[in-house]
Symmetry: C2
Subunit: 262 residues, 2 copies
DNA sequence: ACGAAATTCTCACATAGTGAGAATTAGGTG
DNA sequence: CACCTAATTCTCACTATGTGAGAATTTCGT
């Protein structure tokens, strides 16, 4: 475990790194600003932009303005088409949703880079925002039913890494103060077939989540019901808990696979 | 116009090139197969895969199996969030759809790489496939209302390039046989505020499409209604034509922008 | 058509990407 | 649980190629 030689980022790393500068708040970048940010020359920055534009990952909007490009849209379609879990889950999610009377959303989520990402959302509230937790959106790992139910079943390696990197956050969410406490909390979570959490992510929302496992028993993600209105009666929660569980089982039954490292 | 020196693909080009190997039919690739395909050594191919996995663009599924990764999902969300046309169009599309009684889909499309790409689809047929023309899907440039209405308004440069690269296809779709004929056909298309085409893409479907222009008068894309059932009465088509036009205008009114080169 | 800013080009240099093969790791199997 | 094979990483020498500085050129708004 003695530090291996640190290898500098490769050229392609830096090119791909450009993409991660683009965010919802900052969707437009210029080669100049990027050059400064990445500590490369302006010429090099232009070279990066050109290869990214050539591949369609970026698109030139105007003179000095580049945005994320259409190749990404095309690629995401392929991701959807190739995702076996999504393919199996979607009809199950639709059916589950159709049984609900209250305004709600059904979420399919997965672990990604120490966070949880939404893969698919079905909602019965057409038009307006039920949950901003839509495909591609990330949520914290330690709050909300959707996340916690995944967290609880992550492999030990990953748990250790999470503790190493997010100790403060874990403690702040009442899963501390020590590593042993954290593990004990996860053990407790694992005992319950579903997790129910209220107002942990969005005020007033209640999440009811069940884990989805792959053929070899690893957590593949989670399926959850998000209720718009604050906690209904206990009986309703119980009914819905059984429903998500059943749906998760149904998805598992047709055994797909997907990955998830840290 | 004497050939400039051909510059070989840069390293990053080749790394990004790996992504384009992944398709719906062939969603899983190994470093080995990729190495042969790209004419690089196995070691280099592994290096490519590693940088792509590190960035999340690829994901290791199993031993020798890599698939497109979650970073793409995350990026597409940012693309959606940053797309001003989409943001404006979506509510308009929903409203338009709500007025239709017949099973239908509303499509928002754009030009991309000598093809037309779907940006968003709204449908009133929940569950089952109304149109496989969903976000990220590509369609031929010379068939279907959705495409033709964009084609008609592309800038001259692009038209020339299309003729150069797809003469055969253009002629096969009855827009030939010469370049002058092609241009004449486009002129005719431009005269009509909407285009109506039946069974050109999918058997039995009818598309009614209107172009969307940006602030400086360039085609930004198209808005179209796709009817599931074969051609209704002329009166219905006329009513819908007026509706798409109105919707397209409405989108334009709140002036967004987007790009589109060849 | 003009002028300023954006973008590409040139070129010499050294970094860093490359291939061949050895070394190591990982996963399935008996 | 240890083996065996295939997958993956590592080493290293070499040279291709990515890089920065600045000049040349193009682009676009006015």
């Amino acid at each position: 475990m003695t530090e291996g030689q640190k290898r500098g980022p490769t050229s392609a790393d830096k090119v791909l790194g450009v993409l991660s500068l683009f965010t919802a708040e900052n969707p437009v970048w210029s080669p100049e600003r990027t050059a400064r940010r990445q500590r490369v020359s302006l010429a090099t920055s232009y070279r990066y932009f050109n290869t990214l534009v050539a591949s369609g990952m970026l698109e030139k909007l105007n003179r000095n303005q580049y945005v994320l490009g259409p190749a990404i849209v095309e690629l995401d379609r392929k991701v959807r088409a190739a995702d076996p879990v999504l393919k199996l889950a979607q009809p199950v999610m639709e059916r589950l949703l159709r049984r609900l009377r209250e305004p709600a959303a059904i979420l399919l989520c997965r672990y990604y880079r120490q966070k949880v990402m939404c893969i698919h959302q079905e909602t019965n509230r057409s038009g307006e925002p039920v949950s901003s937790y839509e495909r591609g959106a990330l949520r914290p790992m330690f709050r909300g039913a959707t996340s916690k139910v995944i967290l609880a079943h992550l492999p030990p390696r990953t748990i250790v890494n999470l503790w190493r990197d997010h100790r403060r956050d874990i403690v702040a969410n009442g899963m501390g103060p020590g590593f042993e406490d954290f593990k004990a909390n996860l053990r407790t979570l694992r005992r319950e077939p579903v997790n129910v959490s209220s107002s942990e992510v969005d005020e007033g929302r209640t999440g009811i989540a069940a884990p989805i496992f792959d053929a070899s028993g690893r957590v593949n993600g989670s399926l959850s019901i998000v209720l718009l209105s604050s906690p209904a009666s206990t009986r309703v929660v119980e009914r819905l808990s059984i429903a998500v569980q059943a749906a998760a089982r149904e998805i598992e039954r047709s055994r797909g696979n997907a990955a998830g490292q840290d």
